[in-house]
C-alpha cells in the first residue's frame, strides 16, 4: 500500500494522555496553531488489530513529529509499569524518517536535561528540546525548533495560551470531567479554540 500524501504543515504529537500533562498538551496545540501548523494525535485512531497500521499512516502523513518523553515513568497503580506506546511510536517514526529523510523530520522533547541519555541510551548524541515542564518552555522550544519568517513572539504565544486557559475553556470542553480531553472530538474542539485565539491575538502569522 503506498504511503499517504504528506501534509507539509502537519505535526504528529506523540505525547502522554494524562491529567498532569493537560497544560502542556494545550500549550502544544496553541503554539503549533499559532506557528501555522496542524497538530495531530493518535486518539482518533480506533483500536484493534489494525491500529498500529493506522498510527503509522498518521505518522507518514505528517511532515514533522514531536516526541515528548518527559512523562515516561512507572505507573502509580500496582503493578508499577511504564507505558511503552510513546517509545514504540518514536521507534516507528525514526525508521520511517531514516527511510524517507525528505518526507519526515522528528524532534525529541524532554523536561529534564540528560534524562533521555539515561532512559534511552541508543539515542545518545540526539539533543532533545528541554521544556522544563512549563508552558512557556514548550512555546519557547516550539519557536526554536520551527523557524518561520515572521514567527510570533513567545509573549504573543503566551497571550493566545492564556486566552484559552484563563476562562476555564478547557474545563467547559471537558464537560466538567465527563468528556476525555484527549478524545478525538475534544481535541478537534481544542484546535478550533486555539485557531480562534490565534485570530484574536495581534501578531499571529498571516497567510
Amino acid at each position: 500500500m503506498p504511503p499517504p500524501p504528506v501534509n507539509p504543515n502537519a505535526v504528529f504529537l506523540n505525547i502522554p494522555y494524562d491529567d498532569e500533562f493537560q497544560k502542556l498538551y494545550l500549550a502544544y496545540i496553541v503554539g503549533l496553531s499559532q506557528l501555522g501548523f496542524d497538530p495531530c494525535i493518535t486518539s482518533g485512531v480506533p483500536g484493534g488489530e489494525r491500529r498500529l497500521d493506522r498510527v503509522l499512516a498518521l505518522i507518514q502523513s505528517c511532515r514533522y513529529s514531536i516526541h515528548d518523553l518527559s512523562r515516561i515513568e512507572l505507573s502509580a497503580a500496582p503493578p508499577a509499569t511504564p507505558r511503552f506506546n510513546m517509545p514504540l511510536e518514536l521507534g516507528l517514526t525514526i525508521t520511517w524518517a531514516k527511510l524517507h529523510p525528505k518526507r519526515h523530520t522528528w524532534f525529541l522533547w524532554e523536561s529534564t536535561p540528560r534524562r533521555v541519555q539515561k532512559s534511552m541510551s541508543d539515542l545518545d548524541g540526539t539533543d532533545p528540546y528541554i521544556h522544563f515542564g512549563t508552558v512557556e518552555g514548550v512555546l519557547r522550544e516550539l519557536r526554536n525548533a520551527f523557524v518561520r519568517d515572521n514567527s510570533p513572539s513567545v509573549q504573543s504565544m503566551m497571550e493566545a495560551y492564556r486566552l484559552v486557559e484563563a476562562r476555564n475553556i478547557v474545563g467547559i470542553l471537558a464537560g466538567g470531567g465527563t468528556r476525555n480531553l484527549y478524545s478525538a472530538s475534544v481535541f478537534r474542539e481544542l484546535c478550533l479554540v486555539a485557531l480562534d485565539a490565534v485570530r484574536r491575538t495581534k501578531d499571529a502569522i498571516k497567510p
Partner: protein, 68 residues
C-alpha cells in the same frame, strides 16, 4: 546528532481552511466561538481594570515609568 531545526518554507493555510478541516458541526462551532467571545471580552475588561487597581495600590504604572 544535534537537535534538528526545521526552516519552514511551506505556506500557511488560511485560518478558515484549517477550521473547516476540523469538521466540527456549525452549531457547535457557534457555541465554542461564543465562549471565546466571552473570554476575550473579560480579558479585555481585566486589562483595563488591572492598571487602575495597580495605581490605587500606589504601584507605578509601566507606561508612566516609560514616559519618564
Amino acid at each position: 546528532m544535534p537537535r534538528p531545526v526545521a526552516h519552514i518554507t511551506a505556506p500557511i493555510e488560511p485560518l478558515e481552511t484549517r477550521i473547516k478541516r476540523l469538521r466540527i458541526p456549525k452549531a457547535r462551532q457557534k457555541e465554542l466561538l461564543a465562549i471565546m467571545d466571552e473570554a476575550w471580552t473579560r480579558l479585555a475588561v481585566e486589562r483595563v481594570k488591572r492598571p487602575i487597581i495597580s495605581a490605587q495600590r500606589g504601584e507605578k504604572l509601566e507606561s508612566a515609568s516609560a514616559t519618564r
